[in-house]
């Protein structure tokens, strides 16, 4: 797929209109994973707008969103950047063999107290 087609797909899946963004940066200012990301939430918005989907798909930043909804809640324009991060991550993990978390990696992550909730959430985010 070319970038223009992928951009349309991301916009359709996420329901986000990047053109509503007024570049205030509040999403990145409030993001708990900001320091861990190569591209930050506000950059997802304008890179989707510019159609740079391939760059975003190749970035480990897509696995750093905690889905805490801080940027969704605090965006003054209701752009909801987390929905773009999720759509782009799905574009990757829906590809054959592109699961980010594999079942055989799980035993090494376990300790006696780790709640099931952590694993099912990670699986839902990282795999198809």
């Amino acid at each position: 797929m070319n970038n223009e087609m992928m951009k349309e797909q991301v916009i359709r899946m996420s329901g986000v209109n990047p053109l509503k963004c007024m570049r205030c940066g509040k999403c990145s200012g409030t993001c708990p994973s900001y320091d861990e990301m190569e591209y930050h939430p506000h950059q997802f918005v304008y890179m989707v707008e510019k159609g740079e989907i391939d760059k975003l798909m190749a970035s480990p930043s897509i696995y750093k969103c905690l889905s805490c909804f801080a940027c969704v809640e605090r965006c003054p324009r209701d752009v909801e950047p987390a929905k773009l991060v999720e759509a782009i991550r799905l574009m990757v993990v829906r590809q054959q063999g592109q699961n980010h978390l594999k079942a055989n990696e799980i035993p090494a992550l376990l300790d006696n107290d780790l709640p099931q909730q952590a694993l099912v959430t990670a699986f839902r985010k990282y795999t198809k």
Binding site: P32, A70, E86, Q116, A118, K125
Partner: protein, 258 residues
């Protein structure tokens, strides 16, 4: 009052205390929680993409089975996933059409079930004044930090539980059981969540910020409704404050903690 009740995967395993103290307390307050038969795991996270159908079906099944009774949730994650799914069923016509087309229900489902979190049940059904009157062992002198985390309140427009930026439901709960709430800046910031699986350092950094913030503001203890928050705060944060499920303190106050 009788409600359907959705415990979720973790309340059956690593977070049994959250569940059993909730049941005992509800009983003491005259509320019957009937566990849904054959409930399925909510998946832990709401899939935001509008074309994700299968990942939301377990929530729709729980919702559809609770049409007559309403549904009470307790785990913050289940609460978030089920409420967001219900909102999508009521407001996203294309999504609801696909779900109903697949499920072939006798009566199509369009988000009719009322879903409330256990805390909303305490506030809106029992009433915090009635709860206060039922308290036998008030938690006098205890300075308690309410930890909301991310999933209990956001997105505020969808969950409709409390003001997501300046909430008060858990503080009001703490007052009702005789404790003193501690307000601190990080009470509605993320603990690091499921990143505890692949990036422990991030979970440690985030949960430490939360606990330090509570400690600096004078808290003796923290309470939460989320098993993953409790895990990150107790295992990954560097602070030493004790962290409890809010239902444990509730059961203690009501004199039904065994």
């Amino acid at each position: 009052m009788v409600f359907s009740y959705y415990p979720g995967c973790t309340l059956k395993t690593k977070a049994k205390d959250l569940d059993r103290y909730a049941r005992a307390s509800a009983e003491a307050l005259g509320i019957t929680l009937n566990e849904l038969e054959n409930w399925q795991c909510c998946g832990g996270a709401f899939t935001m993409a509008r074309d994700e159908i299968a990942t939301k079906l377990s929530s729709v099944r729980a919702l559809e089975a609770s049409r007559e009774t309403g549904l009470v949730t307790l785990c913050s994650a289940c609460h978030n996933v089920i409420k967001q799914t219900n909102h999508a069923m009521a407001n996203d016509e294309e999504f609801a059409m696909k779900v109903n087309n697949y499920m072939k229900l006798d009566t199509p489902y369009h988000g009719e079930t009322k879903v409330i979190h256990y805390l909303e049940m305490l506030r809106d059904v029992v009433g915090f004044d009635k709860l206060a009157a039922a308290v036998k062992n008030p938690l006098k002198g205890k300075k308690i930090a309410a930890y909301y985390g991310c999933l209990l309140l956001r997105p505020g427009k969808v969950l409709g539980m409390d003001n997501p930026e300046n909430p008060q439901i858990i503080e009001d709960f703490i007052r009702a059981i005789g404790g003193t709430p501690v307000i601190y800046p990080y009470r509605n910031e993320c603990c690091g969540g499921y990143m505890a699986t692949e990036d422990k350092a991030l979970a440690s950094k985030k949960s430490t910020l939360v606990m330090d913030s509570a400690a600096e503001n004078g808290a003796d203890m923290m309470i939460t409704a989320c098993p993953l928050c409790l895990y990150n705060l107790t295992k990954n944060a560097s602070g030493a404050l004790p962290v409890y499920y809010f239902t444990e303190l509730l059961a203690e106050a009501l004199g039904v903690k065994e």
